[in-house]
C-alpha cells in the first residue's frame, strides 16, 4: 500500500487526467473513523468496484464524493481540476450521479414525474417533451424504462434503472452505484450488468459497491478494498488475486469455508413444521400467500428463495402465529411431536429494527423480549439473572454482542442483528425461522451465524430460512423452496441447485 505523500492527483506523465481522483479523504463521526486517508481513482470507461465489510466506510466515501458529507480532510479532482462538491446539486453539475443503497423514488408518481423532480424544470412542467427525452435516453443506454409507468408498479430492478436514468439525464459522466445488487435476483443482476457495460462503452466511469466476489470478477476492471475506513487494496486488478486473498483483505484474516459435510436429513424424521394450503392476506389487502404447502422435518434446513415481496414475510408471520390465515393450517410441533405451545419457535425477523427494537431500552432489556419465560424477582424482572444468562448466551453463540447496558436503538444494524441472533439462537428451539439471518453482518459474523444455524439443525431443529443470497442458501440448505407471487414456484434439492435455474423460478418462469 502506498502512502499518499503527494497532494496532487497522481497522474502519470503524459496521460490525460483521470475522470475522478480522490486524495486523502478523511471523515470521522464522533469517535468513529469512517474514512482515514482514502484514495480513489476512476478512469473514463472504467468500472471500479469498491468492496469491504459492512461499516468499512464505503457509503461514507461515496457520499463525500457526491457532496452529501463534507470531508474532514482530503481533496478531490474531476478531470484533473480541483473541486469541492459541497452539496449533491453541485456534484450533479460536475457530472457525478449517485444511486443510493435505499432507492429514493416517489412510488405514487410516474417515472417521468420522478425524473422531473431531479431535473431543473422551468415554471411550466412540459411532460410530453420529457417523456420523449426519457424514451430516447432509455433506448440509447439499453435501459428499457417506460416513462408513463407508475413507480409503484415497478420491480426493484426496474426502479434501479429509473434511478440510473435519472443520473444520466442530469448529465452524469461518473455513475456511483451503492450496493445495487443486494436486492436483485440473479437475472436482474445480469441485466443491471448489461447496463453497466453499456455505460462503460459510452466512456462513462462507474463505481459499484458490492462484496460479492463473483460480481466483482464479472464486471470490474479494477477494485479498491476498504477495511475500517482505510484502503487495504488500492485499484488492483481482481484477476491478480484469489478469492481467499480478497476475503482476507476485507476481513483482516482468513475465513474458513462452511463445512459441506453434514448428516443427511432422516427421511423418517418427525415433521415439526407443516403448512397445508395456507392462504393469507398481506397488509394492503391483496392475497399474499396463495396456497402454500410446506413441511420441514427435524434436522432439516429448508431455504426460501424469492424476489423481495413474494410472500416471504407473510410466510414467516403465519408460522409464528402473527398473521391470521384465510384458509389452510399451520402446525408447529415440539420435538416430541405434540402440538407446540406458543413461541416454541425461535424467530429472526426480517426487519429487526422495526420488529424487535424498542427505542431507549438496553441490550439487556431486549434479551428478555423473546416471549419465553422471564426470570422474576418479586414484582419485577431479575435483571442480575438476565445478565448472567446473557453472558452465557453470548459466550455460546459467539457473535460478540454489544455491552448489555448500551441502548439497542443506538447500535448499527449489524450489531442489532447480532443481539437478536444471540437471543434467539442461544437455546435449542424445535423450530427456527430465520429471515435474512446474515443481513447486515460482516463476513466473519455472517459465517458464525451460518454455523449456529447449522448447529441448531444438527441438534434436531427444523430450520426455515429466507435469504437473498443464493450462495448462502445453496451452501446451507437441504432443500430450496422458491417463492413467486405467493406461490411455491418450485422446490430444488440444494445439492444440485443451479443459480440461473433458481433465478428463473424466482422471476416466475419455469426451471
Amino acid at each position: 500500500m502506498t502512502a499518499p505523500s503527494h497532494r496532487r492527483p497522481p497522474s502519470r506523465i503524459g496521460a490525460p487526467p483521470a475522470l475522478l481522483d480522490v486524495v486523502g479523504f478523511t471523515k470521522s463521526f464522533g469517535d468513529v473513523h469512517a474514512n482515514t486517508d482514502v484514495d480513489l481513482s476512476v478512469q473514463r470507461g472504467e468500472v471500479h468496484a469498491l468492496a469491504g465489510e459492512n461499516g468499512a466506510g464505503k457509503s461514507t466515501l461515496l457520499k463525500m464524493i457526491f457532496g452529501v458529507y463534507e470531508p474532514d480532510a482530503g481533496r478531490m479532482f474531476v478531470d484533473g481540476q480541483p473541486v469541492t462538491p459541497g452539496n449533491p446539486a453541485h456534484a450533479r453539475a460536475l457530472g457525478i450521479g449517485m444511486v443510493f443503497q435505499d432507492l429514493r423514488l416517489v412510488p405514487a408518481l410516474t417515472v417521468a414525474e420522478n425524473v422531473a423532480l431531479s431535473l431543473r424544470t422551468g415554471f411550466r412542467l412540459r411532460m410530453d417533451g420529457l417523456v420523449r427525452r426519457i424514451e430516447e435516453a432509455s433506448r440509447s443506454y439499453g435501459l428499457d424504462v417506460d416513462p408513463r409507468a407508475q413507480v409503484r408498479t415497478l420491480s426493484i430492478g426496474e426502479r434501479q434503472r429509473v434511478e440510473i436514468l435519472k443520473t444520466l439525464m442530469a448529465g452524469a459522466r461518473l455513475v456511483i452505484l451503492d450496493e445495487p445488487t443486494s436486492v436483485l435476483a440473479p437475472q436482474e443482476v445480469q441485466s443491471l450488468f448489461e447496463v453497466v457495460e453499456r455505460l462503460k462503452a459510452e466512456g462513462l466511469g462507474v463505481v459499484i459497491v458490492t462484496h460479492k466476489l463473483n460480481e466483482v470478477r464479472a464486471i470490474a476492471d479494477r477494485m479498491t478494498i476498504l477495511r475500517r475506513g482505510e484502503v487495504v487494496l488500492n485499484a488492483v486488478a481482481p484477476a491478480d488475486y484469489t478469492d481467499g486473498a480478497l476475503i482476507e483483505a476485507m476481513v483482516g484474516r482468513a475465513v474458513a469455508p462452511l463445512p459441506r459435510q453434514r448428516r443427511p436429513v432422516d427421511p423418517a424424521g418427525r415433521t415439526l413444521l407443516a403448512l397445508s394450503d395456507v392462504r393469507t392476506d398481506g397488509d394492503r389487502g391483496y392475497e399474499a400467500l396463495k396456497g402454500i404447502d410446506l413441511d420441514v422435518r427435524a434436522g432439516e434446513l429448508v431455504g426460501i428463495a424469492g424476489v423481495a415481496g413474494s410472500g416471504q414475510r407473510e410466510l414467516f408471520e403465519v408460522v409464528l402465529g402473527l398473521r391470521p390465515l384465510t384458509s389452510g393450517h399451520v402446525e408447529v410441533r415440539d420435538v416430541d411431536g405434540v402440538p407446540a405451545r406458543p413461541r416454541v419457535a425461535a424467530a429472526i425477523p426480517e426487519d429487526p429494527v422495526a420488529d424487535s427494537v424498542v427505542p431507549g431500552l438496553s441490550v439487556l432489556q431486549h434479551m428478555v423480549l423473546d416471549g419465553r419465560e422471564v426470570p422474576r424477582k418479586g414484582v419485577g424482572v431479575d435483571w442480575a439473572e438476565v445478565g448472567r444468562r446473557t453472558a452465557e448466551a453470548d459466550a455460546k453463540v459467539g457473535l460478540d454482542i454489544a455491552a448489555p447496558r448500551r441502548t439497542l436503538s443506538g447500535l448499527s444494524g449489524g450489531n442489532i442483528q447480532r443481539v437478536v441472533l444471540t437471543r434467539e439462537l442461544s437455546t435449542f428451539s424445535p423450530v427456527v425461522v430465520a429471515a435474512y439471518p446474515s443481513r447486515g453482518l460482516d463476513i466473519a459474523n455472517a459465517r458464525r451465524t451460518q454455523e449456529v444455524l447449522l448447529e441448531q439443525r444438527a441438534a434436531g431443529a427444523a430450520v426455515l430460512m429466507v435469504s437473498e443470497d443464493l450462495e448462502e442458501l445453496i451452501s446451507m440448505a437441504d432443500r430450496i423452496v422458491v417463492m413467486h407471487d405467493g406461490h411455491v414456484a418450485g422446490v430444488v434439492a440444494a445439492a444440485d441447485a443451479d443459480r440461473m435455474a433458481l433465478g428463473r423460478l424466482m422471476l416466475g418462469g419455469a426451471a
Binding site: 413461541r343 422495526a354 424498542v358 432489556q365 423473546d370 460478540d400 454489544a402 455491552a403
Partner: protein
C-alpha cells in the same frame, strides 16, 4: 464496537447530558420570561417591577406558596393520568372529563352516605367511587380503541364534553342545593368528608396523595414487570406483539389507570379545595395536567415539579391583575410561552443525537 470501557466515560456522559438538559430548561424559561417582559412593556408597565412583585408577593409569600401547593395537587394527579397511558404510547386527552366524573361520583357517594357519616366511611366510599368512575370513563375510550380501533385522543376529548354536561345536568337538576340561593351547585360535602389540613398550614393532605402516587408510578415503571412491558408496548408495539406480550391487556390497564388517577384528582379537588360541584368545577385541571405531563416529558417524578410550576404561574395571574393592572389572561401567555420554549428547547437533544 463491543463493551469496552463503559464504566467511567459513560457516567460522565450521562452527567453532562443531565446538566445539559437542566441548562436547556433554564435557558428556555429565561427566554419565555424575556418575551413575556416584552409583552408587559408593550402594556406600558415596567417588567422589572412586575417580576419583582411576582417574587415578593407570590413566590416568597408563605400564604401564596400554600395556595400554589393546593393548586398543584390536582394538576399533578391529572398529569400522572397522562403519564401512565403515555408510557404505553397512548394519548389521554380525557383528563378533564375523568376529573369531573371522579368528582361527580365522589359527590354522589358523599350524599349517599350522608353528611354526618363517620370520616373513615365517607372518605373510603368517596375515593372508591371517584377512582372507579374515572377508570370506567377512560375504559370507554380504551374499549373503543381496542374494539373499534377508534383513536383514544379523539374519544377522550369527546368524552370530556359528555362528562361536563353530565355534571351540569345533575347540579342544575336533582342535585341542586336549595340553600345556595339560586346558584347551581351541589350541596357541600359533610364536614367529616373534607380532607384535613397539614398541621397549621393551609395545605390539605391531598398533596401527600399526589406525591405517593408519583412515587408508586415511578416504582411501577422502573421496578416492575408491568412497567417494563408497558415501556415495550409504548416503544414498539410490533416488538411487543412478537414477544408475545398481552398487548391488549397492557393498553387497557394503562388507560384505565390513567382514568383512575384523574378520578382521584377530581376527588382530591372536591374534598380538599372546593367541597361542592359548581358549573366551573375542575375547569382546565385535565388540560393543565396534560401540559404538565408534557413539560415533564412524561416522567412521573418530574411531574411533581412541573405541576408546581404551572400552579405557580396560575396563582401569579391573580397578582398581576391586582397589582399591575394587567389583564388576568396575561398569565396564559406566560404559560404558553414557557410550554413552547421548554418543549422546543429540550427536544433539540433528539435532533443532535
Amino acid at each position: 464496537m463491543t463493551g469496552v470501557a463503559v464504566g467511567a466515560p459513560r457516567r460522565t456522559a450521562a452527567l453532562t447530558a443531565r446538566t445539559g438538559t437542566a441548562a436547556r430548561w433554564l435557558a428556555a424559561c429565561t427566554a419565555a420570561l424575556v418575551i413575556f417582559s416584552a409583552f408587559i412593556l408593550a402594556n406600558d408597565v415596567d417588567p422589572l417591577s412586575v417580576l419583582g412583585t411576582i417574587w415578593t408577593s407570590v413566590l416568597t409569600e408563605p400564604r401564596q406558596v400554600e395556595q400554589i401547593l393546593v393548586r398543584a395537587t390536582p394538576f399533578a394527579l391529572a398529569a400522572l393520568a397522562v403519564v401512565v397511558p403515555g408510557r404505553a404510547g397512548l394519548v389521554n386527552v380525557g383528563g378533564e372529563g375523568q376529573v369531573i366524573v371522579g368528582a361527580v361520583a365522589a359527590a354522589g357517594a358523599g350524599m349517599w352516605v350522608g353528611a354526618d357519616a363517620a370520616p373513615a366511611v365517607a372518605v373510603t366510599v368517596m375515593v372508591l367511587a371517584a377512582v372507579v368512575a374515572g377508570g370506567a370513563w377512560a375504559g370507554i375510550a380504551a374499549a373503543l380503541r381496542l374494539v373499534g380501533d377508534v383513536n383514544e385522543a379523539v374519544t377522550t376529548v369527546l368524552l370530556n364534553f359528555v362528562a361536563l354536561y353530565l355534571m351540569l345536568f345533575l347540579i342544575l337538576g336533582s342535585w341542586r342545593d336549595d340553600a345556595a340561593m339560586g346558584q347551581a351547585t351541589s350541596p357541600e360535602i359533610g364536614p367529616g368528608a373534607k380532607l384535613p389540613l397539614l398541621g397549621t398550614s393551609g395545605v390539605h393532605v391531598g398533596i401527600v396523595v399526589a406525591v405517593i402516587a408519583a412515587l408508586v408510578i415511578w416504582f411501577a415503571f422502573t421496578r416492575t414487570t408491568w412497567g417494563f412491558r408497558l415501556t415495550v408496548v409504548g416503544g414498539n408495539p410490533e416488538a411487543a406483539r412478537r414477544a408475545g406480550l398481552p398487548v391488549t391487556v397492557l393498553l387497557l390497564s394503562a388507560l384505565v389507570l390513567g382514568g383512575v388517577l384523574a378520578g382521584l384528582a377530581g376527588y382530591v379537588h372536591l374534598a380538599g379545595a372546593e367541597y361542592k360541584l359548581r358549573p366551573t368545577f375542575g375547569a382546565n385541571i385535565g388540560y393543565i395536567g396534560f401540559l404538565a405531563s408534557w413539560l415533564a416529558r412524561h416522567r412521573p417524578l418530574a411531574v411533581l415539579v412541573s405541576a408546581a410550576a404551572v400552579a405557580a404561574i396560575a396563582i401569579t395571574g391573580n397578582t398581576l391583575q391586582i397589582s399591575a393592572g394587567l389583564p388576568a389572561a396575561s398569565v396564559n401567555i406566560l404559560m404558553g410561552l414557557v410550554l413552547v420554549a421548554v418543549l422546543g428547547w429540550t427536544s433539540v437533544r433528539k435532533a443532535d443525537a
